[in-house]
């Protein structure tokens, strides 16, 4: 298929034998039973699965928010499965951009400061961070709203701000967890178009967790999870959505 990644592109994500189980008291609940997954740079991947399939857990591990119980995870050539808290924070800051279902903007901050936050954690000065944040906001079409607070704009606009925030440190990967879950159809389309453009124009690797077939169709590759195992991994076009 033409949509499949070029074999020449190097791997951004390499998961091998990833297992994760949660321990509550004496009871161990396995969630992921050994996931092998390789994602190359510039890919646009949708991860689908029923609730309880382990897709959220996988997402957390991919986003370096959680560590696997077993298995290896190489991100950008770095073994991130066994990093310290501080090193993981740095990876989240530099390499990954998060987009959440609930937007997760900080309520009391003007939009520009919301977008500038990752830069501040990266060590940029306030002035520099604000300047770059304003530029990213302008890029996502919200240039005139910099001083507004999150509750003064619409949901779709808030998600654009969140996307601007995820882009501000120039990450290699964007992890979007149900990015259109709180949006209407028209707005969802706009957001997905934005992702598609970022993927195509800037070569940013996109990983979107969704349960909506319409959203998954924007991706080129589909990974389907069931009961903690990968049940399908191939072109979206070949999947029965």
């Amino acid at each position: 298929m033409a949509a499949l990644p070029q074999p020449a592109a190097s791997a951004l994500i390499e998961l091998a034998g990833i297992r994760k189980s949660y321990v509550t008291g004496d009871i161990e609940t396995p969630v992921l039973h050994g996931i092998d997954l390789t994602i190359r740079r510039g890919e646009f991947v949708a991860i689908m699965g029923q609730s309880g399939s382990g897709k959220s857990t996988l997402m957390n591990i991919l986003g370096c928010l959680d560590t696997p119980s077993a298995g290896s995870y190489f991100l950008n050539g770095e073994d991130v499965a066994h990093l310290s808290d501080n090193a993981l924070a740095k990876v989240r800051n530099k390499t990954i951009g998060f987009v959440f279902q609930g937007f997760n903007l900080l309520k009391r901050m003007p939009l520009v400061d919301n977008v500038a936050l990752p830069l501040l954690y990266a060590g940029a000065s306030m002035a520099e961070a604000r300047r770059r944040a304003a530029a990213k906001l302008a890029q996502t079409g919200l240039g005139e709203f910099t001083r507004r607070l999150p509750n003064q704009i619409s949901g779709g606009q808030q998600q654009r701000v969140a996307i601007a925030r995820s882009l501000v440190c120039d990450p290699a990967l964007i992890l979007a967890d149900e990015p259109t879950g709180n949006l209407d159809t028209a707005t969802s389309r706009e957001i997905m178009d934005l992702f598609t453009r970022l993927n195509a124009e800037q070569g940013i690797t996109m990983l979107i967790v969704t349960h909506e077939a319409d959203v998954a169709r924007y991706a080129r590759r589909l990974v389907r999870l069931k009961d903690g195992l990968v049940t399908y991994d191939g072109p979206v076009a070949d999947a029965h959505l």
């Binding site: 501080n86 989240r92 959440f100 900080l106 306030m126």
Partner: protein
């Protein structure tokens, strides 16, 4: 994140919940205000006592005659008339004794024109004023010349002057003691009350020689009511006390097995006791203030814990965006410190107003020292760190996944 970014965040967080921040701050305001004001009050009490002690004269001994027994009835201390002017002179030659001043005293009805007033009349030598470090406001002191010539001159204290002459300048006026005219040559500076509460300014001083010859009759020639001895330094007090006792015992021909017929009182011991009380008072007041500051600090801890719980999701978001544990810790710690230091600033202001009010409505002059303010700020910052640390560490210890999932 830089210092200023963290500060901006802290103020923003406070701005989010103004009522809560204000109430939390109130605890610190009261605490810091109490500490500063209490310390200032303690300090002013101490200064007041020190001034009184200094006015009393430093490194001072007062020697009273012993008690007398006649027909089995024991009179009180000073009833015997065993101390003499000659004793005072020999005490003056003891090593490390600066001054030795014999004093003859008796209350008299003193009159000036149609006015009269009952005052203590003191027959003293010029050394007396040196010991007391006491000078005149108006006119001058008498000296050796007046002593030798038995001059009828008098120096009056402020209270006596006011009672006899009102607002008029008494210098050059005449008062009558025992119906003998004395010319007032000086009015002494205000000295205030002594540690016992007696008014030191209600007194008339005349040359000792004149007093003995013309005013105060004594049973024995040359006897005096008391002798004041000033030692050269505080370190020599013990030696001087011993020498005084030995000298007087020899002079009074007291046998080994007999008791002293005089009492040596060390006024510096009284002064030390008074200063000790002042120090204890300052400590006590400071402790009361500190307790309210600690209560305020616990208030901060309480609110910060609530705030950490409420903002769990925010902490998760920040961590997802790359905040390290240290960043989160610093953010919450700074919030606590900002509340404390802002509260501390207002608290100092409140204490300042309180000190003005106390100065106005009480005899104490309470002033807030820069040192007190510095102490208050340091304390409030320490309270912020101490009580902010636990909640901040709790925030920093959250796991990103769980924090993000928190509703």
């Amino acid at each position: 994140m830089s210092f200023w970014q963290v500060m901006i965040e802290a103020f923003r967080a406070m701005g989010m919940n103004r009522l809560r921040a204000g109430l939390t701050m109130l605890g610190i305001i009261i605490g810091v205000g109490a500490v500063v004001l209490m310390l200032a009050i303690g300090e002013s009490v101490r200064t007041d006592i020190n001034q009184r002690i200094a006015a009393m004269g430093s490194n001072l001994f007062i020697i009273f005659p012993g008690s007398s027994t006649s027909n089995g009835v024991r009179a009180g201390r000073g009833a015997a008339q065993t101390l003499t002017q000659a004793d005072a002179q020999s005490l003056a030659s003891i090593e490390n004794v600066q001054y030795s001043a014999p004093i003859l005293t008796q209350p008299f009805q003193v009159s000036a024109g149609n006015n009269n007033w009952n005052a203590m009349v003191y027959g003293v030598t010029p050394d007396y004023f040196s010991i007391k470090a006491w000078d005149t406001d108006l006119g001058s002191l008498f000296g050796e010349v007046e002593m030798r010539s038995l001059s009828r001159v008098a120096i009056v204290g402020r209270t006596t002057a006011q009672n006899l002459f009102g607002e008029m300048n008494p210098v050059g006026q005449t008062i009558r003691i025992r119906n003998k005219p004395f010319e007032i040559i000086g009015v002494l500076a205000d000295k205030g009350s002594d540690l016992g509460g007696g008014d030191q300014d209600d007194a008339v001083f005349i040359p000792l020689s004149t007093a003995r010859q013309q005013v105060i009759r004594t049973w024995f020639p040359g006897s005096v009511n008391m002798i004041m001895v000033q030692a050269a330094s505080a370190e020599r007090m013990k030696d001087v006390e011993y020498d005084i006792t030995q000298t007087l015992r020899i002079r009074h021909r007291i046998r080994e097995d007999q008791e002293d017929d005089f009492t040596v009182r060390d006024l510096s011991a009284i002064a030390e006791a008074a200063q000790g009380i002042a120090t204890m008072l300052t400590l006590l007041l400071g402790a009361i203030g500190s307790i309210s500051l600690i209560v305020g600090g616990i208030g901060i801890m309480n609110i910060m814990l609530v705030s950490v719980t409420e903002r769990t999701r925010e902490i998760g978001i920040r961590m997802a965006l790359g905040a390290k544990r240290r960043d989160v810790l610093l953010q919450f710690l700074t919030e606590a410190i900002v509340i404390c230091v802002c509260g501390g600033a207002v608290g100092v202001g409140v204490a300042y107003l309180g000190s003005i009010a106390i100065t106005k409505f009480s005899p104490l002059a309470v002033g807030i020292s820069p040192a007190g303010i510095a102490i208050a700020f340091t304390f409030s910052a320490i309270v912020g760190v101490f009580f902010g640390f636990y909640p901040a560490r709790r925030a920093a210890g959250l796991r990103p996944v769980e924090a993000l999932r928190y509703e």
